[in-house]
């Protein structure tokens, strides 16, 4: 087990290096001179500009700049912006917002997805099953961009003005966890649909197995057959999907954040690209790649918990 984890972590290193290098090259190619953008409308004194370039290592070759950056990241130093703010400090608040959003989305996704999938599988072939499938088709087809604005209008404005219900804040994060309900659902939308389908197929396959028939035949209560035998054995693909989705949700949050005015990493990245704050841009993507790789590793390790037949050497 320990050796497996170490091997997986070592395998993740080239992927992390490759991804961050790609992003670094892209950021390097962004148009505009970061030092000149720092001055805004005013022109920066050439002597000062040269000094700043030297200070931030902008005169070094690309590969040297990359090495200086990435060797810092491995000891937790994400560098500083041109305004002298530590990138790590800047991240703290922003990542908190995005993580809250992504986790809310993941919880909604798991509850709705597993619930509806289970329901459809148990009502296989009946009209309820078809209704759930039609619903997933609808969920997949409505992009975040559309569902976000529509729910903002319906839940945030119409519900308030027509019915007087003011439960769903639709902008900012002042209302605590409630602020994340609607954005979380919007962000989870497409994923919910895939999870419903996956749960349904996976469970239907398990329900056909011989041991389920045996369990039913020996008079085991229905709930126990489902929980103990069927669900646990259909869980592996679902856990894989949910785990991999955490990274996707965090990376895909930029649109949701823009619609609901949430000040998370997506918004930060967007602003930093315009301001040429290279350290921030590369940092955001580096952390997201790390989240993706770690989530996948944890999912793989969970397999052994769910299915004792799986052993890691």
């Amino acid at each position: 087990m320990g050796r497996y984890v170490i091997r997986r972590l070592l395998q993740a290193i080239p992927v992390l290096l490759g991804s961050t290098f790609l992003i670094f090259c892209t950021v390097y190619a962004l148009p505009g001179d970061p030092v000149m953008i720092l001055g805004g409308e005013r022109r920066i004194d050439p002597v000062l500009a040269a000094q700043l370039r030297e200070q931030y290592g902008l005169n070094d070759p690309l590969i040297v700049q990359y090495w200086n950056y990435i060797s810092g990241v491995f000891v937790g130093d994400f560098g500083e912006t041109f305004q002298g703010v530590q990138v790590a400090d800047l991240f703290a608040g922003k990542f908190q917002v995005t993580i809250q959003l992504a986790v809310t989305a993941l919880i909604i996704e798991a509850l709705v997805g597993l619930g509806l999938g289970l329901y459809a599988a148990l009502r296989r072939g009946r009209w309820q099953d078809h209704a759930v499938l039609a619903l997933t088709l609808l969920l997949v087809s409505v992009p975040t961009l559309v569902s976000g604005f529509v729910l903002q209008l319906v839940l945030g404005v119409k519900l308030k003005t027509e019915l007087g219900i003011d439960f769903f804040p639709i902008s900012g994060t002042e209302a605590g966890w409630r602020s994340f309900l609607v954005p979380g659902f919007v962000l989870a939308g497409t994923s919910i649909a895939y999870l419903v389908r996956l749960t349904r197929t996976s469970l239907m396959e398990t329900l056909r197995a011989d041991y389920i028939r045996t369990a039913v035949a020996k008079g085991m209560p229905r709930s126990r057959v489902l929980g103990r035998h069927a669900l646990r054995n259909s869980l592996i693909p679902l856990v894989t999907y949910l785990g991999a989705d955490l990274g996707t949700l965090m990376g895909g949050a930029v649109i949701t954040e823009a619609i609901f005015n949430l000040n998370g990493i997506g918004q930060q990245l967007f602003q930093s690209v315009a301001r040429r704050e290279n350290a921030v841009v590369v940092g955001v993507v580096t952390v997201l790649v790390l989240v993706y790789l770690l989530a996948n590793l944890i999912v793989d390790l969970l397999y052994a918990v769910l299915d004792p037949r799986i052993r890691y050497e």
């Binding site: 087809s141 409505v142 992009p143 604005f149 823009a258 690209v273």
Partner: protein, 305 residues
């Protein structure tokens, strides 16, 4: 739809019953047989054909010039003359929505084709040659796969700059981060096909590696790739809208639904029409391609048979 299909139905009716007929690809004729009878596929295709017609000749559907705008008329509601109202810039929303179909569908189709070709060819090479070729290509794919797609595309397009942004830059930005998915699927299918008897037989007969991979392995491994490419169409269309919404994709005066949504968002709560109608069309377009993708998967995935 029925008019379209009758021509094809006659010569190959009930392909499943005609077992004697020497069809090398029974998977394809079976799939086509299934598709023609699948209501989801027929409805999806009907909507898609309508949208494609709109994309090819928007002038037939939209009576007014989408670029002829009069600021005096800005933000009018729905009327008999302006079916979807008038947007913030005084342009007719209906005409703009119709003209917006072209870029959405073009980006979706091109990105699907590019990812299919790049991922497919590299996946074939990785699966067929195995060993270090496979290791290098698979690792490379992992590197691209680990980058979040919308954020990565946002960065790439920012690096290209707004002046150069257009259909092809959006297609490439989306494709660069999406091809690894196709590679994985193609590689897995090729590895399965490679160990089949007919490949061993072809090799024993002295067929060249190129001939084996193209004539024997490819036709038997391409089905899952077609499935994933069809299913991705909707994802790419939504991706284009998202990037244009963020201001790095298609640029004005070109018309894109994502751009229209971005333009209308500030006054959205007072004047929802200019945002709602492109949003509805975007959803319908994605829906039609998702329906086609679902049906193609059901028809081509042998596991579900």
């Amino acid at each position: 739809m029925s008019e379209l299909n009758t021509a094809v139905q006659e010569p190959k009716a009930h392909p499943r019953r005609k077992q004697k007929e020497k069809k090398p690809n029974s998977l394809w004729s079976d799939a086509w047989y299934d598709l023609r009878r699948n209501k989801v596929f027929l409805v999806g295709t009907a909507i898609a054909i309508l949208l494609i017609l709109m994309a090819i000749m928007p002038g037939v559907f939209a009576p007014q010039n989408p670029l002829a705008c009069n600021l005096v008329d800005a933000r009018q509601g729905i009327s008999s003359e302006h079916w979807f109202g008038i947007d913030n810039q005084g342009c007719d929303t209906f005409s703009r929505v119709i003209h917006g179909a072209r870029i959405s569908i073009l980006v979706g189709l091109l990105t699907s084709v590019v990812t299919g070709l790049v991922g497919g060819v590299l996946g074939l090479i990785a699966g067929f040659y195995g060993r270090w070729v496979d290791v290098i290509l698979s690792r490379l794919a992992e590197i691209f796969f680990a980058i979040p797609s919308i954020l990565g595309a946002l960065l790439l397009l920012s690096a290209v700059g707004r002046d150069a942004a257009g259909v092809w830059t959006v297609v490439l930005a989306l494709a660069i981060l999406a091809w690894p998915m196709v590679l994985r699927i193609m590689r897995a299918a090729v590895i399965t096909a490679k160990s089949q008897d007919y490949v061993t037989a072809a090799r024993a007969l002295g067929a060249s590696p190129f001939r084996i991979s193209v004539r024997h392995i490819l036709p038997n491994a391409v089905a899952p790739v077609i499935v994933v490419c069809t299913m991705n169409l909707g994802v790419f269309i939504a991706g284009e809208a998202a990037l244009s919404f963020l201001g790095v994709g298609i640029q004005s005066p070109n018309i894109s639904w994502g751009l229209m949504i971005a333009d209308a968002r500030n006054r959205f709560l007072m004047a929802p029409e200019p945002l709602i109608f492109p949003a509805i069309f975007l959803s319908i377009t994605v829906l039609s391609f998702v329906m086609i993708g679902d049906a193609v998967r059901d028809a081509l995935d042998p596991k579900l048979r």
